[in-house]
C-alpha cells in the first residue's frame, strides 16, 4: 500500500503535466503542420480554403528533394562538419572551461570575457576576413576549415556553458581522487566529467545543433558541391521564382531527422541522471 502522496505534490504533478502537454503541443503543432504541408500537393497548400488534413497525399516533395539534391552528400558533409566542430570543442573547450572553473588565477574574469568577446563581433563583418584567412591557410572550401570557423564562435559558447556545470561539481571529490593517486587530468576525466556529464552532453548538443543548422558561414566559405552542407543545399533547392512550400516543408522534415536520431541516442545518456549525494555541507 502506497501512502497517498501529499495533496500539494499531486497538484504540482498535475500542473507539470498540464504545462508539459501544452508546451509540447505548442512545440509540435508547427512541426506537424510542416509535415502535413510536406505531404500535400501544391493545390492544397496554396488555397483559399484551409485544408487541414490533406485529402490527397503525395511524397512528390520528398522525391524531388532527393533527386534534385545530393542529399546523402550534403548530409554527410554536415555530419562531418558537425562532428569535427563538436570534437574540436570537446578537446579544447573542455580543458578551457575546466581551467576557468577550477583555478583562480590572475586575469581569469578578463580572459573569460575575452572568450566571449570572440562571439560579440557581428558575423556579418567576420566573413570577408575569414574568407581571406581560410584561403591563405588553404582551408577554404573544406569541411575542416568550416569546422574551424564554427569553432570560433561555438567554442566560447561551449566553454561558458560547461564552466557552469563544472562549477557545480564539488571540489573535494577531486581532492580525494588526487590523494587516491590520480593526476589532475585523471581526476578531471574520472570524477568531474562523469559528474558534469549532463551538462557536457547538453552543451555538446547545442554545439552540434548550431553547427548542423548554420547557414551563412557555410554558404560563404564553401564553394564546391563536395563540401557544401545541408542547410545550404536546402536553401538552394528553394528557387526564387517558385512557391516552394511543399519542398521547404519536406526539407525541414528531412533536416530534423538526423538530429532527432542523434538526440534519441543522447537522451538515453542524459536521463540516466546521477544520484547526487555523498557530500556533506
Amino acid at each position: 500500500m502506497a501512502v497517498a502522496q501529499s495533496r500539494s505534490k499531486l497538484i504540482w504533478n498535475v500542473l507539470s503535466y498540464a504545462v508539459l502537454i501544452v508546451l509540447a503541443f505548442i512545440c509540435i503543432a508547427p512541426i506537424v503542420w510542416t509535415f502535413l504541408t510536406s505531404i500535400k500537393p501544391e493545390t492544397q497548400i496554396v488555397t483559399r480554403d484551409m485544408v487541414y488534413i490533406p485529402t490527397e497525399v503525395t511524397i512528390e516533395n520528398y522525391v524531388k528533394l532527393w533527386s534534385q539534391s545530393s542529399y546523402p552528400t550534403l548530409v554527410m558533409n554536415s555530419l562531418v562538419v558537425t562532428g569535427l566542430t563538436v570534437l574540436i570543442c570537446l578537446i579544447t573547450g573542455t580543458f578551457a572551461s575546466y581551467a576557468f572553473s577550477r583555478f583562480v588565477f590572475k586575469g581569469r574574469t578578463q580572459l573569460m570575457l575575452a572568450y566571449l568577446v570572440v562571439r560579440m563581433f557581428p558575423a556579418v563583418l567576420m566573413i570577408i576576413p575569414l574568407f581571406v584567412l581560410m584561403r591563405q591557410i588553404g582551408l577554404l572550401d573544406s569541411t575542416i576549415g568550416l569546422a574551424i570557423d564554427y569553432t570560433s564562435f561555438l567554442l566560447p559558447l561551449f566553454v561558458w556553458m560547461l564552466k557552469g556545470f563544472f562549477d557545480a561539481a564539488p571540489k573535494e571529490l577531486e581532492s580525494a581522487a588526487r590523494v587516491d593517486g590520480s593526476t589532475r587530468v585523471g581526476a578531471m576525466f574520472r570524477i568531474v566529467i562523469p559528474i558534469a556529464r549532463n551538462g557536457l552532453v547538453a552543451t555538446c548538443v547545442f554545439v552540434a545543433i548550431a553547427a548542423w543548422n548554420e547557414y551563412l558561414f557555410a554558404l560563404m566559405l564553401t564553394t564546391s558541391q563536395g563540401s557544401r552542407t545541408w542547410p545550404v543545399g536546402l536553401q538552394l533547392m528553394v528557387g526564387e521564382f517558385q512557391l516552394p512550400w511543399g519542398m521547404l516543408a519536406a526539407g525541414g522534415m528531412i533536416s530534423i531527422l538526423p538530429v532527432i536520431i542523434l538526440f534519441a541516442i543522447v537522451q538515453r545518456v542524459m536521463v540516466a541522471g546521477i544520484t547526487a549525494g555523498a557530500v556533506k555541507g
Binding site: V46, R48, F131, L216, L236, M237, E240, Q242, L243
Partner: protein
Amino acid sequence: QAASINYWHTFTSQSEFAGLEEVMKLFAAAHPDIKVTQENIPNPEFMAKITSAVVANSRPNVTMVSSERFADLLAMGALTDMTERIASWDRRADFDDKRFDSITKDGKVYGVPGFTFVDWMYYRKDWFDEAGLAPPTTLEELRQAAIKLTDPSKGRFGLGMRGGPGGQNYIINVMAAFGSPVVDATGTIGLNRDKAIEAIDWFSGLLTRDGAVPPSAANDGFRQVIEGFQTGQTAMIWHHTGSYQDVASALKPGVEFATLAMPAGPAARIARLAYAYNTITSDQNADASWEWVKFWGEPDAAVAFLEKTGYFPASSVAAKDERISGNPMYKAAAETLEFGIPQPSFPGYAGWTESVVLPAFQRTLIGQATPEQAVDEMIDGLASATA
C-alpha cells in the same frame, strides 16, 4: 588546351537547374577540353558572396550578373572589359543593341546577355469580363478597375501590391511613370520631389484611401503576391515573365487570367527589361571563359534553356522561336520589348532602393509617414548614397 573554369550563378529552382545542366551538356560536347564547374548561390546572398570573393580576390571565372547589379559590381572592379571580344564575336548580330545597354559603361561592354525578364502584368480575365471592364492601359484606369473589383466581403482586392521585399522596383517605376525617374534622359540622378510625391501618394493611396489592395501589402513579397493571385484574392498583379509558369499552373491561361503590358502613367509608360548577363570575372583562363560566355548566345543553348525554364531569350534569333511567338500570352512581352527600358543603374542604386525607398514607402502604407516625408527621406537617402 585543357582548362577548367567555374561559373557562379543564381539558378536554384529545379527547372532552372535542369536548363543549366542542359546547357552544360551541350557545352561539354562542343568543348570537351573545357571543364565547367558550376556553383549556385541563393539570390539574396549572391552579392554578399561575390563581394567577399572580390575582396578576398578569389573570384570565379564567369559570373552571372543581372542588370541591377552591374553598376555595383563594375565599381568594385569585379568585371572585365569584354568590348573587343564581343565586337569580334560572330553572333553579335543576333542581338539587338539595346540588349547590351545595361551592361555597358563608358562605351565598354562587360557581358553577354543570357536571357531576359520582361515586366508585365497578370489580370483576372474572368473577373474583368464579369464586371464588364476593359483591361487597363493607364494607371488611372488600373486604379478604377481595382476599386471596382475590390470586395472585401469576398476577400477580393483589385491589385496585389508588392510592398514587401522586392517591391522597391515597382515604386521606382511608378515614380518614373509619374514623371520622376531616378535617372533622367540627360543622365542626371535625382528625384523630382513634386512628381514623386504625387506618385507615392497615388500608389500608397491604393491601400490607404482606396482600400483596393490587401492590407498585408507592406509585407507582401513575390511569394505572397503570386499566392494572392493564384488563390483568387487579387485581380491584378505586376511581375515579369519569369513567373508565368507559376501563374499558369494554378489558373487557366486565356480564360481565368491573361497578361498585359504595363499600363502608362501620366508622364510615361514604364516597363523594365532585366537581363541576366554572363561576364568574365577573372583573368585566369579568360579564353576558356569566353567560350562558355558566348556559348549562351548560341541559339541551340538558348532554346534548350528556354525549353526547360520558359525564360525569355535575349537573342533575337532565339526569340523568334515558335513556342514564344505562337503563344498569345507572350504577346504582351513582345509588345513590351518594344518600349521597355532597363532599370536605372549606378553604384549604390540597388542599396538605396532596398534600404531607403522601400521602407519609406512602407511607412506611408502603414501610416507612419506622409508621402511628402517618404519622398524627402528618399531624396536624402539618394544624396548620401551617391555622395
